[in-house]
Amino acid sequence: MNDKLIETFLEEALELLDGLEEHLLVLEKNPIDSDAMNAAFRALHSIKGSASMFGFEKAGTFAHEVEAALDHFRTNMKPAIPELTELVLQSRDYLRWLIDNPEGSNDELEAVLKRDLAALISKSPEPEAAAAVQKSAISKPASSLSSPDRTWSIIFTPSRDIYRRGVRPESLVKELQALGKSSVRAYCAAVPPLSQLNSEDCWLSWKILLTTKVDEAAIRDIFIFEEGISEIKIEEISHDEFMDGDEVKRLGEILSYKQFPADSIQQALKKQRPIGEILISEMNTAPELVEDALLEQQHARTLTQNSKEDTERKTIRIRSEKLDILLNLVGELVTVQAQLSQAVKDSGDRHVQGITDYVKRLASELRATSMELRLVPVDSLFAKFKRLVRDLSKQLDKELELKVEGGETEIDKSVIDTLTDPLMHLVRNAADHGLEDSAERERKGKPRVGTIVLSAVHAGAFVRISVRDDGRGLNRTRILERAVERGIVAADAKLSSDEIDQLIFQPGFSTASVISNVSGRGVGLDVVKTAIKQLGGNLSVGMREGEGTEFTLDIPLTLAIIDGFLVRSGRRMYVIPLSSVDSCFDRPRPPRTERLLTHGAEFIPYASSRTLFGEDEAAPEREELVIVNIFDAKLALGFDQVMGGYQTVIKPIGEVARFVPGVSGAAILADGNIALILDIAALARQIKSGERTAKS
């Protein structure tokens, strides 16, 4: 089979499995959530179908077993009991394994899961009267494509003299069609042969299935002048009649719903010919009944088709590698365009200059659009942790809850991909170390359920992601003791609270006395810190004793291209992310000892680039100041010259340069020289801690 098709299947299957997990977690919290139940069923149903189609037979067969169990609860309108969600979650994990290992199988696990699923079905009784109360909550329709819509069956039999009254009956049908999605059938059986026809009489009638948001009164309004003259029958019909969730029912199923004898349907089905044809020709079934069923089936197809087309029109699936290639090409274009602009500027040709400016604008728009293509909501990342927290809750025997804030915040896909592991560490740490068990929390007057909050918010060129818990906070005394024990700090060291907090990021550091498989091996936080640094970001920790801990990750929005602000210090060029720049102005060069700038009513920490990066050339008499924003603070940086806005392709820098404080990357300038891209957040930390670099 075509590799691309298999790849597409794998991508879709993994998405469906993720979706299934999410719906199951919703069901676990609200066992009568019919939307979640139907969505979980649909996900399983789709996995089953596509797995078999693409040769993943084992996954397809197993999905069928799981689907049967879920469907038992769904069709009998039973709440999803915890045993069901637990078992289907385990089955989902096994399905994932089967898809990852199409040649493998775990017979023992599969047998246990199948046995337990079967047992669950057999021990689960048929719905009783009490369950009927819940029927409205677990109602079957749950069609994602029509939740606010209702479907009406309208039979319009015009009066015989309608044409003579100057009314065109088809105009009324057209008006109905304009109200929503419709399927129409005209009935012509009553039309007599031509020789018996009074051609000004109307012998036609229509049946219209209309799915719409309007109510019956609005439909009747269309027939306002026919009321009492023509025959108009309007009744609401349930989607269940012709749809099974979002699936179109088969003709036999629709007839069955209409109380058509099951025996006749079975007999007709056995004949391997169109069921409607057999029912009419061989079983004396009224053609109208079959025609009605066919109309309903057709209407269901119209609805699903519209829904699919809507979705297909809105989205297109593209492999992320293709977007990477696109972005690389745009990056090259941006660089070449900068070189072109420089060359044209040097040549002094005003005509070509105009064209070059236009190319520059187009390149800029192309860059912005390409970047947007790669942005995905951070929710897609956060969703993965719902299952983790749920499993940790069971594993650690703690009542835990995960809350997500700012899930709609968008961030570059490549950044998201690299954040999974660091966040996993932090969430595990919060669950294992940060949060107390329920008994301890109650003793402290806290809610029994410990909360972990994952949040995301944009801030200039960065996105700030935080993992916050309402647990016990960091035990600084214990951290210091442990650091001394491990020889990380001297026994007589005098450390500030912040410095003590930073110790937890030291390699091999852990305060856990017992090593568990959740955390406590001391390989967590330093790995997280390094991973975040490699992204050009920063990890920090804050806490309030007894109230909780918050880890904050400041991550650059993108790793590819930025709008920069080009500045010069001596012979070196630097790029500041434009989104960080607040303002700039020039002033006489201040004494080297100046550390604080008075700017209006504000006092802003100040540093000269010459001090930060070490310049031995003679400094000009005046200095150009750039004031930058770092989240909720400001920083003033002094340079020799501000060159202006500059679109920059970020090039990775070598391992050695990577750890030069305050530099996050490099850019090739139009003249071929290199500019260093400044990491403003790192510079701020450096200035704050009074460190000095680079003179070496």
């Binding site: 059938r185 026809l197 000004e200 109307c202």
Partner: protein, 111 residues
Amino acid sequence: MAKRVIDAPAKACIEDIQAIQSSLLQAFKESKSGDTLVFNIDAVRKTDSSFAQLIIAAAAEAEARSVVWTVQDSNNANPLSELLLCASSCELCSSKDVRQRAKSEQQEKRV
């Protein structure tokens, strides 16, 4: 086996329907069993459901008289299903099907 072609006018609405019916009835009267009647609606530009009803009635008449009935709509500009706003694909809405059905019924009768 004679073949007659009846041309429908450009305007075939309720106001015009009696005249069209008359010409069709005349054609049927002049046809014998087994003859073919072709109703050419290529020129029809304006129409309504009464015209569709007339075609259906004519098909029923042809069936009763064992005449082969064909609706010629070369550009498919006036499909019956559209005139009736009907999404069904039943025989009546397809001139080809109507023709085939009439033929096959005739053949059955001959047998």
